[in-house]
Amino acid sequence: MISAKKDKFQAIGAVRNAPWTDDYNLSHRAFCRIWLSPAEIVLGLAVMAGGTAAWIKAIPHVASLWAGMLSFWLDRIWPGTAVSVINRTVAGHWQIPVPYFKVEAGPVDGWTWFAIALGSVVLFALSYKIPTDTHLPYIYLLRAFALIQWSALAYVKLAQRSLPQDATEYCTSMLLFGMIFTGLIPAILGFTFYIVDVSIWKKIALTVITVAHLTLFIPLQYLAHACILRVSLLFLPILYFALGPLIEVILFIAFYSWGMSWSSQHAGRWSTPTNFRRGGRPSPQDVVEASRRYETAGARSR
């Protein structure tokens, strides 16, 4: 049935493609679908695979770049802190180079504990002052952050010891995560953006922009985390949940949204199946052939 309908549409599409016809007579955009030609699919897969391979090839250089960026800032924040590049094993046998630097985490007890507890309580209380009719999402966000912080405070108080995580290890692991996440961008965009009707150059541009931005952002992000952890390790859970991978995902979505707002390469004809909108005027033979195939398809669909 579906095949018969497709045959019919392709047959009459050859005729309707002519300048004096409308595009394919769909009634509503809800009935539209994405039509990708084999060439578009192959090109998209090639860009996806090429982008991923290029990132894998560039990982040692990116690690060196990140180490240089971290050294630049650490020389000004904590002079004398050394940055090196170490290899981390992923999935058992993959060695991925990643920057490493020592972070002295701040205390988790005493006045620090009380100060953070007080601050989180004030934050929670402030959420009740925010108007619920216009800013409801912020209210829930603040309360969620307060709850996460309270979990860290409760753990330290009840367990009578510091958090099991280490600030240095946290920063190194998150840089490794950032390295892997950035490498996945071509593949993620391949499945979500390359199927959209924009030119291949725009697809490549969005991939390059996103990867480049994350490459510059991630080392600064986790160095900023290190600065906050220097105050107290108690901030580690909130940093991880609120300002860690979540921020990177938000940045990706921001770039993706920007790309999705770009105009289509076939603007105004986006509902037209790709196979129909290409080619010239139909010949008389096309008309007769379309007629014959239409009849055949119609009989089958009945």
Binding site: W20, I77, S301
Partner: protein, 329 residues
């Protein structure tokens, strides 16, 4: 150190916010908001033909190469296939077994038996589609469309669409209101089925909400709307003044009259002699039996379904749209 930390935080925050700049710009400038533009030509099915006519009349640059123009009446020999659009100022008569790409005619078109039009056909007068012909895409007329036996269609619009003899049964001025059903009892009264509302919603909306199948007895008037979770079955000669919706199949027996719309989430079968004043929509197959009339000249309506089968003698005022296939049986 503090200055460096502040610089680091500022640089990080800047890079975090930078990708959102397009979104913030859109938020404050609001350039993209608004309904998605939908071409009017989707609903006005004669638009393509009239754009073509305007281009021809004004000798514009958009005139398609190879377009055929005839100032006088034109008889197309049987079996001829024309791959270019036709602009006929006089009457166009196709001998039969023809294939056309598109036709615009300022007068009448008589499409011979077993002919085909692959894109669109519009005549300012009458379009007669003889038996066995097929019009893909759009078919419209300024006065009326007559479809012969065995014709195939997709989208048809005209003040009157008459199917294989439908015109003969409805000559003259068509009544704009439903006639009173024939009484079935000896005392001459027409029974009314008017159940008490079961909820406030039923009271406000003046509807009957049936959780099972709904059946209206013969020659009974229901002065309300009907919504049924299962099937709807309107028995012979009954009348519903409102609209009828069913989540499953709907069946109208002979001479049923409906003042509003008919909507079925599955198939629909309309028996001979029925009258429907409002739109008829079915997500499955729609069968319309002979003698049925839908809409009026003053209040044209639309009939839409995935597949439509129409018997001889049906008249529809407005549009007839089969998403997959329409067939005169």
């Amino acid at each position: 150190m503090i200055g460096s930390v502040a610089g680091l935080m500022a640089a990080t925050a800047f890079l975090a916010v930078l990708p959102m700049a397009p979104a913030f710009i859109e938020l404050y400038q609001r350039r993209d908001t608004g309904p998605v533009p939908v071409k009017n030509r989707v609903e006005v099915i004669a638009d393509l033909a009239r754009e073509f006519r305007d281009a021809m009349e004004h000798d514009s640059a958009e005139i398609p190469a190879g377009a055929l123009v005839r100032d006088a009446d034109w008889f197309v020999d049987p079996g001829v296939s024309l791959s270019d659009p036709i602009y006929a100022k006089g009457r166009l008569v196709a001998g039969g077994n023809n294939v056309f790409a598109a036709i615009y005619c300022e007068k009448d078109v008589d499409l011979g038996r077993n002919s085909k039009v692959l894109s669109w056909l519009h005549a300012e007068g009458v379009v007669m589609v003889q038996a066995g012909s097929r019009v893909c895409g759009r078919l419209s007329a300024g006065e009326r469309v007559e479809l012969g036996s065995g014709c195939g269609f997709e989208r048809v619009r005209a003040p009157a669409i008459m199917v294989a003899g439908g015109a003969e049964e409805f000559e003259g001025e068509a009544p704009e209101a439903l006639p009173q059903p024939q009484p079935c009892s000896e005392n001459g009264e027409v029974p009314e089925f008017n159940p008490a509302p079961q909820s406030v919603l039923e009271l406000v909306t003046e509807r009957v909400y049936e959780h099972q199948s709904f059946v209206l007895q013969p020659r009974t008037i229901l002065p309300k709307n009907v919504v049924a979770v299962h099937n709807v079955h309107l028995m012979e000669g009954s009348q519903v003044t409102g609209c009828v919706k069913s989540n499953r199949d709907m069946e109208l027996e002979a001479n049923v009259q409906v003042g509003g719309s008919l909507v079925s989430a599955a198939g629909m079968r309309i028996a001979p002699g029925c009258r429907v004043m409002g739109p008829v929509l079915a997500e499955g197959e729609l069968f319309i039996a002979s003698g049925t009339r839908i809409g009026t000249p003053a209040h044209p309506t639309s009939v839409r379904a995935t597949r439509i089968r129409v018997e001889r003698g049906v008249t529809i005022h407005g549009s007839l749209w089969a998403f997959e296939l329409g067939q005169v049986t």
